[in-house]
Symmetry: C2
Subunit: 656 residues, 2 copies
Amino acid sequence: MAVNTENPGFCRSRLEELLKKRFFYCPSYEIYGGVSGLYDYGPPGMALEQNILNVWRKHFVYEENMLEIGTSIVTPHEVLETSGHVSKFRDWMCKDPSTGEVFRADHIIKEILLSRIKKRVESGLEGEKVEGGASGTKFDTLDESLSRIREYEDIISRIDGYDGEGLSRVIEEYDIRNPATNVRMEGPVGFNLMFATEIGPKGNMTGYLRPETAQGQFLNFNKLLEFNNGKMPFASVVVGKSFRNEISPRSGLLRMREFTMAEIEHYVDPLNKDHRRFNEVENVKMKFLTREIQMSGKEEVIEMKIGEAVARGILENTTLAYFLARIHLFLIRIGMNKEKLRFRQHMNNEMAHYASDCWDAELLTSYGWIECVGCADRAAYDLTVHSEKTKEKLVVRELLPKPMEVTEWVVNVDKKKIGPLFKKDLKVVEQAISSWSNEDKIRYRDQAASEGRIVVKVEDGREFEIPSSLFTIEQVKKTISVREYIPNVIEPSFGIGRILYSLIEHSYWIRSDDVDRCVLSFPPIVAPVKCLLVPLSNNSAFDPIIDKLSFELRQLGISHKVDDSSAAIGRRYSRNDELGTPFGITVDFQTVNDGSLTLRERDTTRQIRASEKEILRVIKELSEGLISWDDVLKDFPIFNKQITDIPEITDLYIRE
Amino acid sequence: MAVNTENPGFCRSRLEELLKKRFFYCPSYEIYGGVSGLYDYGPPGMALEQNILNVWRKHFVYEENMLEIGTSIVTPHEVLETSGHVSKFRDWMCKDPSTGEVFRADHIIKEILLSRIKKRVESGLEGEKVEGGASGTKFDTLDESLSRIREYEDIISRIDGYDGEGLSRVIEEYDIRNPATNVRMEGPVGFNLMFATEIGPKGNMTGYLRPETAQGQFLNFNKLLEFNNGKMPFASVVVGKSFRNEISPRSGLLRMREFTMAEIEHYVDPLNKDHRRFNEVENVKMKFLTREIQMSGKEEVIEMKIGEAVARGILENTTLAYFLARIHLFLIRIGMNKEKLRFRQHMNNEMAHYASDCWDAELLTSYGWIECVGCADRAAYDLTVHSEKTKEKLVVRELLPKPMEVTEWVVNVDKKKIGPLFKKDLKVVEQAISSWSNEDKIRYRDQAASEGRIVVKVEDGREFEIPSSLFTIEQVKKTISVREYIPNVIEPSFGIGRILYSLIEHSYWIRSDDVDRCVLSFPPIVAPVKCLLVPLSNNSAFDPIIDKLSFELRQLGISHKVDDSSAAIGRRYSRNDELGTPFGITVDFQTVNDGSLTLRERDTTRQIRASEKEILRVIKELSEGLISWDDVLKDFPIFNKQITDIPEITDLYIRE
């Protein structure tokens, strides 16, 4: 598993060592032994996250005037009960009764079946002992073995869709045991993934840490719409921490208990899901793995322009398509390898409880294909359930181009007489009446006509009789000038930690001429530090030059780092290659004489030489992604002078 | 309380209405009734927060190459037990037994005593009924009344220093009752302010939401020091959410249960707390309220240069002084009123359990003087306790300029013989020996000499006898070339929500010529939106001009908003004055002809007219704080043409 099959030289443990050494991230509370699923970012990891988010905001939020808000993490029980998270946001866990160790049921099943497949394949597919089995030791024939492998593969491919009962059946039928103890798993039981807490000192208000940032946005829908001057469509945004109390998290930044999300909720008219800027992206070529292809048991992607995917009905509407294309462009822009990016549609039984369609942007890493961005059509699910629960309408009111005549059933109640009849129950009766659909009204009108009274059932189940004389139900014509609707929501949702880790893997390589020299080729716009300042030696003549350059770079807003350690200059560069620093300025004795500087590019290790002013201008434009290194080489000749030509002088260290 | 005494026209409820209407912030989960102490930021509030943090990062982090990291919110019990938060991070709450309502004891006492003072003052100080009291109704003389007021004032001024017992005594002695029910308060009992939760599914790992961001930084000290190439002094930084489960939070953004903090931990050699850049700030003039002045019962600030405060011994060292001056400059830079800013030293009984000295930057608001930034000297407290608990050294190792000879007591144990003697207990015995101080060693040496054996007490309390023949304790001379020390920590800690709210109050005013027109005069660098684009009317000739301007502003990274609503142009400007938008561009018919634009400044409502290129350049420089509006007026004449001179055309609305 640790070797990325698409990248044969890749070795995960070596990369992890680099990330630890350069303090990209580390387990939280490490000196206390750490807590699985919790990680801290060191300075380069933090800067990388911030830079990714900066590009993200420019690409999505500012580009389309989305409304970014900040919402609370601590969420009361009632909100998440309404959204369905209290009952449905869970994983299945099983337990080894001999040790008490718990496992995520789907993960342990998958792991064990994969290892069985591997064992069978390695042993030449036949003559292998059958695991467990009532009849004791026997050996499968080749055919039996092949069919068993197909069975395992089938379960693995559908594992995301199993409920507790299904998982329980698999554990029993396939005799799933803890590999460490060989004891049969118990369970599975459902475990809610939300961290619970108590709000306030009274012990009567349960809360949870939000499992997603979406709910806080939905609850503010009316205020957001008003802030947007009532105009549709529009989007709200939250960037912040979410929490999932994972059962047994491993796999590093890919499965954290606490993680940064960036979520967009785009509100759209359900009758018109066209996106007005779709034409800007329709020619973007992307790789799709549709539901149909997956159902046929294959993993083949089809590559096509997003416009074609819409035309062929693979994508239902241009708003969903627009966002998929924009996600694709964003991921490429921050430096992902386009060959390791695909868009996979969720299977019907795999979608979250609120989604009506969902596509994931998946990135290939040494852990396999990883979901890094989800793009779900949540339809009107959330706004509807919150609206019903709170009795607060979460709707758009749209002035019709011209007034429309509609026919409606109307209930008129004789308020004077009905009040004394029901006294304190009046309110619930009125509530029941106001919730009648057109069908209800027709049914009650018929009942009143035939029986002289109706029986109204109220919310708590009680029934009340109302004589026909106290009300009328009639059809009236009405002119309406406003259409009222609950918008649908398209939700692009970004797991920033997963994106960050995948980007590190996609950016990692080892110089072919020196296996000890690793490089992280982040694009300048996301690189944690843009520029390294390297005085040739610790000669004090360089100090004022370095100080001045540092000041100038700060004024320009370019993050930089001075490395004036006594290490050889090549060593200093190569350790900053490991930080992904794209540019380096060398200050040498010629600088003291004429002010000129050497600028080195990380990936090619090529250099140019120019005046301070020119070098600063070039770095500024490179850092902001306005020009590329190739553009620079068109304007400046490559500089090859021995003393500062880094590759050749790795071991040279001039002592003063 | 709602009227800011320094700002007589100020009315808090009116400001709050504006903030609600313009969606700066709102209670979280408002459609569910809200949860006290939890707030959401709408788009302007969020942008304001982000801009404040951007200026903060430039001012502190980038300016001094501080190491910003990202740490986890969910924190295991053991860490916060060690830091002292489990036992000491609490408030005292009392309860009305008749309703179950709970109050923060110090708050309710203060509130009731203040209202008693007010009542006495209003009733002319004499002839007023004594509240409660064993002897029933009687009336105080003038002298009695005055002395009573002094008593109340004395309690109020010292309330932060009371422990549970002290508060209990006050409640009894002064008969503190719930104003709503007139029932005597019960308690107080201590309530820990941390939100508790369970980590993982096993139910055996309690955690808390962090109450401050500091601990995660301390635990990473060794990695941070290494990342900084071992150089001291340096600082780490975390910007993020912290949580306090307040007993009964009111006062809006000033007392939130979930809030954004920006905390700097500056690590410094305890033997040398000089700051190398102190000379850059020594002439900054600031207002100080020292511990001595407060102890004398006064609230008089003394204004002086920070250099003088150091010279007079008011501030203990130049690192603390440097940060106080930098905090002062930051607060002024984002737009605080310098007349409403003071630095107050904590009283000895008021400091957090970890602090050895502490100064607060306090801002005057309608809630009184509010602590917005704390600057504590945490000495070596945290690094020491974590180091002792985890046995992981959190120290700086500094190469001495030249090796030093020191005398040390050394214990040599005969390993071969002691092993078989203690078997499995060997480890704890060795641990006990290795923890001996110099005094212990001398004492044991004496014991061994006189008794022929020593008795060693180990961690769990058991005692072991060791014969003198198995060890020696002797004084040896040693040459050391490295000095090892635990650094001290100076901690400037910023409550971003409090800063944001105070800034809003400091920026709020009402135009004297029109009481309906409120303005938030944020400096351009922090204003949520920098520029408003206003087409004179909804004539379609303006559309392409507005689109192009919008595109240009986006390229320049200038946040802007188009207001093409049908409201009168003056109305559109005045509602953006309420958002604090500093600049507005008007597009009118002359623009269609010659491309020229009108630029309006919010506070003066003055305008200039120039070409698109010039206007864009000016806005860019204004937004980044590089030039002021006065600078602009030096280069461009004031433009007074009737049609776009806003104040005069408030009611003009040209329909096409």
